[in-house]
């Protein structure tokens, strides 16, 4: 019988060093082998969600670490869990499941800690094709990390030490005799599943398995056998001999992001990824994890894919921030109003960071052009879609198509908007309808159809809505536009509150005066003569051109808002100004609102 959530797995026992390991295999054995190593307190079932996704393309192998799940424990326990013995286990499993080809190693938590040992000792050289590390540092690197901070304790480094020191409380607990065993076999073991669900937001289901109390009790020896020894005497030659992909959950309660600051000196070929999630990403973010592992394995499996992509060069030249590439690489981003201005610049910025981009616009040609250029600057894939955001049915159709063909959107940017200016009494009800249809309903439709997909998937995501500085700044000349944008701002705030529980962030961007094409299509209420309208559009465009605030900077603010999960982001200095005034001195804004712009 296969373990929970591992239906269809072929199981075998591998004997090594006096114990028996329970090994499960999924997928076609002729494909490249991906070996998944679980952490503490876990068994191989922690990988079940990721394993089934990877099995579509790879030969996936999981095993219970000695003393866990259905593998047997060494006797005596003390001294039976050293990293040397764990390396023996790994080699035995690798030789059994993939005798001729090196394996692609993936480790989470303690699985990653021991995998670091595997990739940094000489005797495994040639057996590992790549290593993806999730939430588990090398004990040797960790030891050096502490040492370097103790020997040169600048305030920042002391802060880093104290920060990680506080996060490691459970490590100290595990070093006490008998107590951890009692707790795990007693109340802690019973409450663990509920605890994970509440604190770590792990979806309830067949994980954790029934063997958890025993796994956790025995597994305490992983820490006792290794941590002290390696912290005191870290190996000086712990250099990785395989390419490493480091996936860092930014919300990890046990490991500081700073732990990996010096990793470049240990790993010649290092790819960094970051993920806004807590510690147990194999349970909470299986899609993203499987996608990054697949990508990394493919890159190091096919020589053609290893050829340097123009991405890196272009990125280096135009200075794309590494934190954007770490976070957005391979994600699916949908931008509306992407045929020009802020939308197009945003699509390009995400493309440069390596995201897959869906460019949506009423203007089919412009959207296609955005997609084409996005591919040239680093998007692994990009598509243009011609849709009017104010058309509910069209948006629903688009959502169905995107979900079916490209996947679930990770970042949604509701950016499409139109301008309308003029006195309230000169604004016809048709004009009101049009502005609200695009600026407000477009955002509502976007949030409804794509937000629903994100929420349903339950693996986080982010929604960005383009509001405006006009959302804080009233004006007698912008009643319809400002109303629509203020509504977008409030909608974003409400949605942010509602979706917080599902790990979906919502940001409202308030750009201010930015040099885009919005002025060229702005309607002027009460102006019926087309020539007069043209003249005013040109005049407005000229003014915006003189201000010349580039949409690229707004795009950068959007990426920053997603990365740091910001709620409201004013962009231009004037937007910051009115945002501050709206809170400190709203009376000033009311006075400004009475000013009538010259025709």
């Amino acid at each position: 019988m296969a373990g929970a959530g591992l239906e269809g797995a072929r199981e075998r026992r591998v004997r090594t060093g006096g114990i028996e390991l329970c090994v499960a295999e999924l997928g076609d054995a002729d494909r490249p082998t991906v070996l998944l190593v679980h952490g503490y307190p876990d068994s191989k079932e922690v990988w079940s969600e990721v394993a089934v996704r990877l099995a579509e393309e790879f030969h996936v192998v999981l095993y219970d670490v000695r003393g866990h799940g259905r593998s047997t424990a060494p006797a005596p326990l003390r001294g039976g869990f050293t990293l040397e013995k764990l390396t023996d286990d790994f080699l035995a499993v690798a030789d059994a499941v993939s005798p001729d080809r090196p394996v692609h190693l993936v480790g989470h938590d303690w699985g990653s800690v021991q995998s670091w040992e595997f990739v940094t000792v000489r005797r495994t050289e040639g057996r590992i094709a790549s290593f993806t590390s999730v939430s588990g540092p090398s004990l040797d690197h960790f030891g050096h990390w502490i040492k370097s901070r103790m020997t040169r304790p600048t305030p920042r480094r002391v802060g880093q030490l104290l920060g990680q020191g506080a996060k490691s409380w459970y490590v100290y607990m595990l070093h006490t005799p008998a107590l951890p065993e009692l707790a795990w076999r007693g109340p802690l073991g019973r409450r663990w599943p509920k605890l994970l669900e509440r604190v770590e937001r792990i979806p309830a289901g067949d994980y954790p398995t029934a063997s958890l109390p025993d796994d956790a009790a025995t597994g305490a020896w992983l820490y006792r056998d290794n941590v002290r020894a390696r912290m005191l005497r870290p190996r000086p030659d712990a250099f990785a001999h395989a390419p490493v992909q480091l996936i860092t959950p930014t919300g990890d309660a046990f490991l500081s992001e700073r732990l990996y600051d010096d990793l470049g000196t240990w790993v010649p070929e290092l790819t960094r990824r970051s993920l806004p999630a807590k510690h147990w990403v194999p349970r909470t973010r299986p899609d993203q994890l499987a996608a990054w592992i697949t990508d990394f394995v493919r890159t190091h499996e096919e020589p053609a894919a290893r050829a340097p992509r123009p991405v890196a060069e272009t990125a280096a030249r135009s200075g794309v921030r590494p934190e954007y590439a770490e976070r957005f690489g391979g994600q699916l981003v949908l931008v509306t109003g992407a045929a020009g201005g802020i939308g197009r610049a945003t699509a390009f910025a995400f493309a440069e960071a390596g995201a897959r981009v869906v460019a949506v616009d009423r203007d089919a040609e412009g959207a296609a052009r955005t997609a084409e250029m996005a591919r040239l600057i680093g998007a692994p894939d990009a598509w243009g879609e011609a849709v009017d955001v104010s058309d509910e049915q069209a948006m629903e159709k688009l959502a169905a198509k995107v979900a079916a063909e490209y996947g679930i959107v990770d970042v949604l940017v509701n950016n499409a908007g139109i301008g309308l200016t003029g006195s309230f009494f000169e604004t016809s009800s048709e004009e009101w309808k049009r502005v609200l249809d695009v600026n407000l309903w477009g955002v509502i439709h976007g949030c409804r159809v794509f937000g629903a997909q994100m929420a349903e998937r339950g693996q986080g995501g982010h929604i960005v809505n383009t509001a405006s500085a006009a959302a804080f700044q009233p004006s007698r000349a912008l009643s319809a536009y400002s109303t629509s944008k203020a509504a977008v701002l409030m909608l974003s705030e409400c949605l942010r509150a509602e979706l917080a529980g599902r790990d979906i962030g919502v940001s409202a961007i308030c750009p201010g005066i930015v040099n885009t094409g919005i002025t060229a299509t702005t309607r002027f209420a009460g102006v019926t003569d087309p020539a007069e309208e043209k003249r005013r559009q040109r005049k407005a465009s000229r003014l915006y051109g003189l201000r010349n605030y580039p949409p690229e900077k707004v795009a950068d603010a959007i990426l920053g808002a997603v990365l740091h999960d910001r709620a409201v982001v004013p962009v231009t200095p004037e937007a910051h100004g009115v945002h501050a005034l709206s809170r400190l001195a709203p009376g000033v804004l009311r006075t400004l609102a009475r000013w009538q712009p010259p025709a």
Partner: protein, 281 residues
């Protein structure tokens, strides 16, 4: 126009065409020698020496070379940043060579965009410049005002998704007039520009100011006039996130009534045009 005038004009144009050909030959020769590690200063010197050897003594402006994101004038704040730096060329980097020699009294001003190795994005930019060359000629023949044409080029760039980088040039010009220059033994340069040529440009500016035109083709009010007859060095410059591309060549504008004769590119046998034609076949 009498045939005598026409042939005289042709002889004159032949002089300009020769120096333009010489300049492009120089650009191609220097581009062929560029390899990783060469600096902008070295590339500029290579152009200078190549042209000195072939009899060039004076400049409209001394040769420029821009590498990498400097082809898109990223973070250019002051004109001094146009001058060649110690930036080194790397594989995959775009580059632009821009020179304006005076040869036998005739001036050319050319811009040559290239790339060290493969860069699909740069190819795309180069290919998209074709529409700009066609748009400019068409609208000059229609006798639109220079400012209008400038704005139309701008709009085309925005539609293509590019940034207008000729805006970074002095006065934001997309083109400027060039003319014959009297050859002198002593030909000093001022901030990289030949004093003789600057004198010509200044006197044109003065004359133009009285008659309501300008030798600078800019987005400003002083360019709000139909194209004036003469030779214009036209240089649309596209920028896209750290990659830039341009061409620069002479557009001949005459006062002929025949649209075909009223404006034409001095020479169609240029590297970028050949490239487009080969691509089209």
């Amino acid at each position: 126009m009498t045939s005598a005038v026409a042939s005289e004009l042709t002889a004159e144009l032949r002089g300009f065409r020769e120096v333009q050909q010489l300049s492009y030959a120089c650009a191609e020769a220097v581009a062929a020698q560029l390899k990783p590690g060469v600096t902008e200063r070295q590339a500029a010197r290579m152009q200078r020496e190549w042209l000195y050897e072939r009899g060039v003594k004076d400049w409209f402006h001394r040769p420029f070379a821009w590498f990498g994101d400097r082809t898109a004038f990223v973070d250019f704040k002051i004109p001094l940043q146009f001058f060649p730096t110690d930036r080194r060329l790397e594989a995959g980097m775009p580059f632009i060579l821009d020179m304006a020699p005076v040869h036998k009294g005739y001036t050319a001003d050319i811009g040559y965009s290239g790339c060290l190795g493969l860069n699909p994005l740069h190819d795309k930019l180069l290919a998209d410049l074709r529409d700009h060359r066609e748009l400019i000629l068409r609208e000059v023949r229609e006798r639109r005002t220079l400012r209008e044409i400038y704005e139309d080029v701008d709009r085309l760039m925005v539609r293509q998704g590019y940034a207008n980088r000729h805006r970074a040039y002095p006065f934001g010009v997309i083109a400027h007039k060039i003319d014959r220059v009297r050859e002198r033994r002593f030909a000093p340069t001022l901030f990289g520009f030949g004093t003789q040529s600057l004198k010509g440009l200044a006197s044109d500016a003065l004359r133009g100011h009285r008659d309501g035109w300008s030798p600078l083709w800019s987005p400003y009010k002083f360019s709000d006039h139909p194209p004036t007859p003469g030779l214009w060095a036209v240089e649309p410059h596209l920028g896209f996130r750290g990659t830039g591309a341009k061409f620069e060549e002479i557009l001949v504008v005459t006062d002929s009534r025949d649209p075909e004769q009223s404006a034409f590119w001095l020479d169609d046998d240029l590297p970028h045009v050949r490239r487009w034609n080969e691509g089209a076949v």
